[in-house]
Symmetry: C4
Subunit: 182 residues, 4 copies
């Protein structure tokens, strides 16, 4: 086995988040692609599943946000499925433990909530991070309009097959091996 | 005529299923692309239609599944259309005979059922395989949440044009014939 | 100006229709891409708009269809928009004159109708061709299930940006000019 | 930092608008892609966000439109989200000041309105441009059928991830660095 990154298969790194800047915090959403491992047979296998990364920054002044105090929440494909199937009056909540399966399991608890406004004009997206090691509690809350949520749903629906790795499945002529001159 | 595989047109083999692991069985879904044949005129014709492959594995312990006892069910494009147009209270059932048109026709019967939960919280996906040759009956049942089904619908909607071969239709500059040095 | 075909920009010819075979006729649907013209400035301009080609074949026996007696109907992007926005009880009708703007204008009249079944279980797609020159009238009618129509809607929604030529708009690194050796 | 255009990363210029020609004015819609800047680390960062460009031309005769008197309105990704989430009875309005943050701020005011017909048969898209410098007022109004709006929604949903720059995120093998001969 060899990691695909070593074979030049890694995608270009791109920084193209969709961001909304609100009074108390900013939220930006970016897809993170899976990594692949190439088997001896030549088959590429998904190694680490892709995610949709949600980044929250607290406001520290008018239109100023503190990148140092950012908190991340990585939505799995199924959590993305939950988000894109939310109706105009629905809500959902996800719980993550970033130290799961390690000796620090349970010490840090993150929960992300997406809650429809009662009047159907959008959603409130909140992140709650309780860190028992650092003895900190952080809470971010970002109101998102129907239009902004439509962008997130459309862009996440587009990204979902990519974070699953399905965009590698293509009928286009294989570009490898390409004959090079040397 | 020559088969496209022989001409290097075959896609990279990728293993990137979307899987759900439940108490009695696991289900994973992967698109399988069509194969093309190149006519003397240069036109590519779909040779074997692509499918959406559903793989069921029985549970043999906590979070352990027996890959040896897997059963497959290959959804045709129209069956995928049926799945992605299911409403929250709808159901559908498909019947396959893997030996159809052979002397063993009717000996193995497979049926796949997708049935909405009465409370609208998801679906039950079941596979029933009756093999009269081996005198076996197998039954798999996998409860799927609304979020997991949304992933399947979104990913299968993405994959549908690919299993039809329509992603080959592209306005991008043809990369063939590419001039090579030799 | 030079036509893009002359510059190797034409897409590979692919034959990958989505077809349904019914008692009286068969219907197959294939996207046909636009052609581009390259201006002296290097900009590519859509020359001839793409269409969604509907081909009808009359049945001439059990599972046999007569390709010689085929009739075509080319859906424009807006007509595709009409088709993909049809609700489960809606209908639409399109009229084409293949000789429009020529001296034979009005001599051949084609109309395509998509009509929902009253019970919501699918649609009836009919093509009517009246040819006053050949003194012929032809009528094709193909019942299409909800699942088959879902495939058409999903595949046509995928194809719509391609027949508009929008898939050429891509952020991927330009592959031209590519340096070639020789 | 270097601008990506200088590195050959700019997309081919394509002119493939979706246009509707009506009695008083014509409207055409084209996506405009973002530009990227390459950091020293090799990461590509979106420099200027993409938009969906709406171009209005006044009618000056039967099927004749005056390109000299065109007015443009550039929809941001969030405004595109607003448009694609419009229900059959909804309306939305956007206000732009093309001189925002300059000394001419407030002198030119543009507003775009999308308003559903009361009978649900389509939308009226209007652009109002008040230019206090040139002492001009211009008003364009284009009725759009349900089918035409379905094309706009489908094509804009397709284009949205591209104007965000997300189509650069791909699992396909990196094509760079490509070895060239020279």
């Amino acid at each position: 086995r060899e990691n695909s990154a070593a074979k030049g298969y890694i995608a270009d790194r791109i920084f193209a988040p969709y961001s909304v800047y609100k009074g108390k915090a900013a939220l930006s959403v970016t897809p993170v692609l899976p990594t692949f491992t190439k088997l001896d047979s030549g088959t590429l296998v998904v190694d680490r599943r892709g995610v949709m990364m949600m980044k929250f920054l607290p406001a520290i002044g008018e239109r100023k946000y503190d990148n140092e105090k950012r908190q991340m929440f990585a939505l799995s494909p199924t959590e993305v499925g939950s988000m894109i199937s939310l109706g105009p009056k629905d809500s959902c909540e996800f719980f993550h433990d970033p130290s799961m399966l390690s000796s620090n399991a349970g010490q840090v608890r993150k929960s992300l909530t997406i809650k429809a406004h009662a009047d159907g004009t959008g959603y409130l997206i909140s992140l709650n991070v309780v860190n028992n090691i650092l003895k900190t509690k952080e809470f971010f809350t970002v109101p998102v309009t129907t239009a902004e949520f439509a962008v997130m749903k459309t862009a996440c629906s587009f990204a979902l097959p990519h974070i699953l790795g399905w965009d590698r499945l293509t009928n286009h002529p294989s570009r490898e091996p390409r004959r090079t001159v040397g």
